[in-house]
Symmetry: C2
Subunit: 406 residues, 2 copies
């Protein structure tokens, strides 16, 4: 077991866990934002046939060679076809077929002229200029060609991809299953949110903040019970949570004091502790263990510490298990709008509010930095990572910020 | 009915519809990303009492006035309290109480010193320097003060907000209900995704792309049937869709040709057409109608046109009905990586791929611009809006881009 490691080292240990993401077949609409677990090749051409991209007339362009505003050419209309129908006729010399967008180009025709550029009756159409071959025609396979790999394994599925799957006739698609995440709260001071406050007690908020952080990245969440600060009670809840979840998160009980029992409970259920404590502020007390193909995260009971360590360590783990290869937070350059004067021997992860204005990013820092503070997190949408020993930073400094997506 | 209006005018008509968003009480975890429909005031202090922010010893700071490395002060440990418990003792002269993070400060004590800075036995603790009053104490109400408005009506609820609601003991919260969105596909050429292809037919992809676009912004979606290109069939489906949905989207049947029957069907069900056709490319054929407090959007059957008009007109409408005040797409400045040489008399909405690199945004344009193209949308994550008459744009030009969030 490693103790008191750097953020980087902790990230590396987690990235090296090498747990194979699981796959699942889901209806295509449910695959939104999931990672594709198969290559999608096209077995069709799209359009499947040469089709009209206009409402107008299908004609032979050579019939229009001499057409002009002064000397229009009049063609006989021999058929009228809408999308979904196919003309049985062949366009011959001096003939045209009235055609709607999406309909198959009739035999003999080599271009479409749009309604608006003609004068027409039920029986004939006047053309006032030369029509170029292939104009107004979307060729077969122009959009999608048979055999093309349209979507690659590993791609995050967006709405257009779901349209592509639909047009290929796929009702289901193979994606990486998002891990199920169980949350357990520990602490003799905690009561449920529907209980009345008593002296010395506070309501359990961490399970809900973390639950929502998990939901935000699309994983299923289940909030398990509140445990007292004793190994037996935590072990019991861990056993149930491990039955259900792929990842178990606990809060509380991981610092140095008498009540730091989570690490012990992780071992009691058969977990191997990978590391304990990360040299960062907030969030130093964190224990991470592995049990078979499952990971257990023991986060601090302090709201801000739990929040930050979730974003730094749990979020990328959930994303990796969901098949994501880009699991890190988006880093951007921003202009600091406040000063940050603390110089620390530990890496600091400062909660920040970043916004885009006039072509650039700007970052404000909250007034309250304590790891016990919950209220300031409401405005947090980014993290300012201050490496140990750097700073102070002054107003106007260009800094790097990680966006949380909130 | 207005015909052939500008994008701006269409946006204004939609913004002026003045349909009151509906509210609903939901369990707090379900409120994520919804808009708060009530002010959240605190009826508690947080911390509810002065509490320890460290694992250590509660003491009287004046007892440590003369303490130094050479002459440590030894205090008698009279109690041991953990979070969730309250000491019945009062810390007197020369005394200390062992205390865990989160536990209430015992009477008599005015500071906490952390374990690591002491030498202790079961019965006593040695202090090696002066401890400042209030150090190690999180004062009552320091995080949240009774009476504070913590979250205001109109705020988008993030994970931290859900933690705040939990700590206040709220099991449910009032949010704006997201509108339910029905999707109808029209076109004689369309078959269901589970049907085999036949000559002249294509599979229905628009309903799925649009369904996913709706899902992405958190609204409930229901895909209704495919209608033939006739008013009666569309009217029948519209009647069912209006029973269920707050917004109905149709695709196909809105351009100038024979099969443009959607607008007529909107009127048949009692809708008032607000406008028909917007002077833009792609997406010109669009009909929007109002029926009571519901809106009907008739989008083009062309995939790219439907996609773009969804983002420009339907998305902001769904967000407005969800109580969002910031319903516009995020606009950023970007560097164009390709040239765009077309100069058009109509506003153009060009599908684009934008990425962030080395401190700035860059935008690439797809090879295929036709409004019938589906495949290129897979890589689209942004829109480059080219006002009528502007351009050409060259590689390296600074442009404004709207981010789609895909």
């Amino acid at each position: 077991m490693l103790i008191n490691i750097s953020i980087e080292k902790a990230e590396k240990i987690l990235a090296d866990q090498n747990i194979e993401p699981k796959t699942v077949d889901v209806p295509i609409l449910d695959s939104l934002d999931h990672i594709l677990a198969e290559d999608i090749k096209s077995d069709i051409n799209m359009p499947p046939f040469d089709r009209s991209s206009l409402d107008g007339y299908a004609l032979r362009t050579k019939d229009t060679a001499d057409a002009s505003a002064e000397n229009p050419v009049t063609l006989e209309t021999i058929d009228n076809i809408r999308a979904g129908y196919v003309s049985k006729k062949t366009v011959g010399k001096g003939q045209a077929v009235r055609i709607m967008t999406g309909a198959k180009i009739p035999k003999g025709a080599d271009a479409i002229i749009k309604y608006e550029d003609t004068v027409f009756t039920d029986k004939s159409v006047k053309i006032f200029g030369y029509v170029k071959p292939n104009s107004g025609i979307a060729g077969a396979g122009e959009d999608i060609a048979m055999g093309d790999t349209l979507l690659g394994r590993g791609k995050t599925i967006n709405p257009a991809d779901i349209g592509i799957l639909a047009i290929l006739g796929k009702e289901k698609v193979k994606v990486y299953r998002r891990p199920k995440v169980a949350v357990i709260s520990t602490g003799d001071e905690l009561i449920n949110i529907n209980e009345a406050l008593k002296e010395g007690k506070i309501r359990n908020s961490n399970a809900y903040t973390i639950g929502a952080q998990v939901k935000k990245i699309g994983s299923e969440i289940k909030i398990f019970g509140i445990c007292g600060d004793n190994v037996l009670s935590i072990k019991k809840e861990l056993d149930s949570a491990l039955q259900w979840g792929d990842i178990v998160i606990t809060t509380g009980g991981v610092s140095l004091g008498d009540a730091d029992v989570v690490k012990e409970a992780f071992e009691e259920v058969g977990g191997k502790v990978l590391f304990w404590k990360v040299n960062m502020k907030p969030g130093s007390p964190i224990a991470v263990a592995r049990y078979k193909d499952k990971l257990l995260f023991g986060l601090s009971g302090n709201p801000a510490a739990a929040y930050v360590t979730f974003e730094k360590f749990v979020r990328p783990t959930i994303l990796r298990l969901s098949g994501e290869t880009e699991y890190e937070l988006t880093k951007i350059k921003s202009t600091l709008r406040d000063e940050f004067i603390k110089v620390s021997g530990r890496d600091r992860v400062v909660r920040a509010k970043t916004y885009y204005k006039n072509g650039g990013f700007f970052t404000e820092l909250p007034d309250k930095h304590s790891s016990g503070i919950l209220s300031g997190l409401s405005e947090t949408n980014s993290l300012f990572c201050v490496p140990a020993g750097t700073g102070p930073y002054k107003k106007g400094d260009r800094i790097e910020v990680e966006l949380l997506g909130y």
